[in-house]
Symmetry: C2
Subunit: 301 residues, 2 copies
DNA sequence: AGAATGGATAGGCATTGCCTATAGGACTAG
DNA sequence: CTAGTCCTATAGGCAATGCCTATCCATTCT
């Protein structure tokens, strides 16, 4: 049983004849005859009585007609549902973001996105990069905003660069170097360091910067968030390295740009390669990249 | 979009892979690949994400899946509804019958039929033959029980002979010939005749019998039913011709068989040629012919 | 690294759906 | 009653297509 057979059946039932139906469906009359015969054979019963030169539904055909109609209209409904869902911006986006980006970067973007696409439902997952990537692989997360480049195999994910921000040394206000215009990590080689816990990729970024400056940081405290670290810095317990977006006005804290030109953090949006994005998801990604382009990459302190 | 594509789609979604689905559906993996590609192309969107060597539904595919399932199960439902309705004896039969047969012949048959097929709904239409035939042509009546043979073109209707009954002269009890074992119409040529109204085919039967006996009946009364006529005969107003099944015990009336060997009425079941009968309708027809075979064609007076 | 697994692609074959032409019935008009 | 017409069924041919095998390519497991 095929859809076109059902179409022909309905057309014949509606128009009351094979020839009339043939004109309606733009199919030759013999084709209709043939397909209805096939259908009748498959069902093991006649759908039409051919009496004289008129055609009339059998009782069975009369019973079958509404079902055939329902099938056809459901087919149409399914087809147009697909068409609709590929034009309308509806549905949900699940965006993953690492903790060192989440509080500074995402909120304003989410606000504008929700205002622009009220139908869209956005959920945010805040995890460290490897967990985000794993959830991307499993399909739970659609887009991730993380530090780039990724370590993962080059072609497993697709990266959309967003911004690159400078790194700053965070010093207690009364620190000897706190008034400097810029600073090198070498100048801090004796200071106690406050860094993020292992697992946070920004820790690697900071450690890498230290390594470039041939500094082996003395880590005396590890935390999961910058605000804790900054509080410690204010209290004069040590120094830290902070990305531009995490700078916040604090009484006891001073931020000095690192001289190292490579001391930056690049942030990008990442999607699983080969994964098709729905319209909302695509829109979200576009929203990210577009909005960022018009945003200052290095906001003043 | 075709049913087999939907089947493949569901199989792949269920089994989680083309190869697995290929084993399930007994179709080669390339065929599945091909058909899904076609489907995706027609819909203008991907249904699956092929990531690495795993396959996962896209959001759209996830939305499409229940619709595809519904279509397939509705198809199955339609198919089995047809199968069921061609095995189960359910539904309605509309049987037409002429007034000169209806009261005598049908009631016991309807009773046994209804007892045997309680699901069946039988409706009876009582009309004169030409109207019954017209309603057969329009499909309103499924089977008609009428006097045969029909005048109509030989192949328009199909006839199933049921019984052939003798004709009787109905005479007032005190009529001179009332005690005879048999009688010819010639012997009644001067009598006033009470006959059925024009349109009733038994009138033609009776008139034909008279014509054979070279009698021109003097018709003094016409009615639509035998019981009225018999009452008149009882009252001594005239004589009549009555088929065997219409004989009823009456005080003032005597029935004498006609000698004319051809003075009979044949009754048959008739269906429109080319018209397919449902199971109930077929069962009713069978019931008619079968039950009749075991019935005495000429019940004693 | 090599083997195994899974999907995509290419090419060939058989099926099939549609076409035109025509047969054959049945209704209609002269 | 016959010619004409209107309808469905059939026959035959052609192009499209669904399925197959063989193979490729990427991924994943050992």
């Amino acid at each position: 049983m095929e859809f076109h057979q059902l179409r022909y059946f309905c057309a014949i039932a509606d128009s009351g004849g094979f020839s009339r139906a043939a004109r309606l469906t733009h199919v030759s009359q013999p084709s209709l005859s043939q397909q209805i015969h096939k259908l009748e054979e498959e069902l093991g019963a006649q759908l039409f009585d051919r009496i004289g030169r008129t055609v009339r539904l059998t009782e069975l055909g009369r019973a079958f007609l509404p079902r055939a109609r329902a099938l056809l209209s459901d087919l149409e409904a399914a087809r147009s549902a697909v068409a609709e869902s590929s034009t309308s911006i509806t549905g949900s986006v699940c965006v993953g973001v690492i903790p060192t980006i989440a509080p500074y970067f995402l909120p304003p973007l989410l606000a504008t996105f929700s205002r622009r696409y009220p139908q869209a439902r956005v959920t945010v997952v805040e995890e460290i990069t490897p967990l985000l990537l794993e959830r991307m692989r499993s399909g739970a997360i659609d887009v991730a905003v993380v530090a780039v480049p990724l370590q993962a195999r080059g072609h497993e994910f697709q990266t959309f660069p967003l911004i690159e921000e400078k790194l700053y040394a965070a010093l207690p206000k009364r620190h000897a170097l706190a008034k400097r215009k810029s600073i090198t990590l070498g100048e801090l080689h004796d200071e106690p360091f406050l860094l993020l816990r292992d697992g946070h990729c920004f820790r690697e970024t900071a450690v890498a910067a230290c390594k470039r400056a041939r500094v082996q940081p003395k880590i005396i405290f590890e935390s999961g968030q910058f605000s804790s670290i900054l509080s410690m810095v204010c209290a004069g317990l040590g120094v830290s390295i902070i990305p531009a977006m995490a700078l916040e006005k604090r009484n006891g804290c001073q931020f000095v740009p690192l001289e190292d030109g490579r001391a930056t953090r690049a942030i990008g949006a990442v999607t699983l390669n080969g994964r098709s994005l729905s319209r909302v998801q695509q829109a979200f990604l576009t929203h990210l990249t577009a909005k960022i382009a018009s945003k200052p990459a290095h906001p003043a302190q």
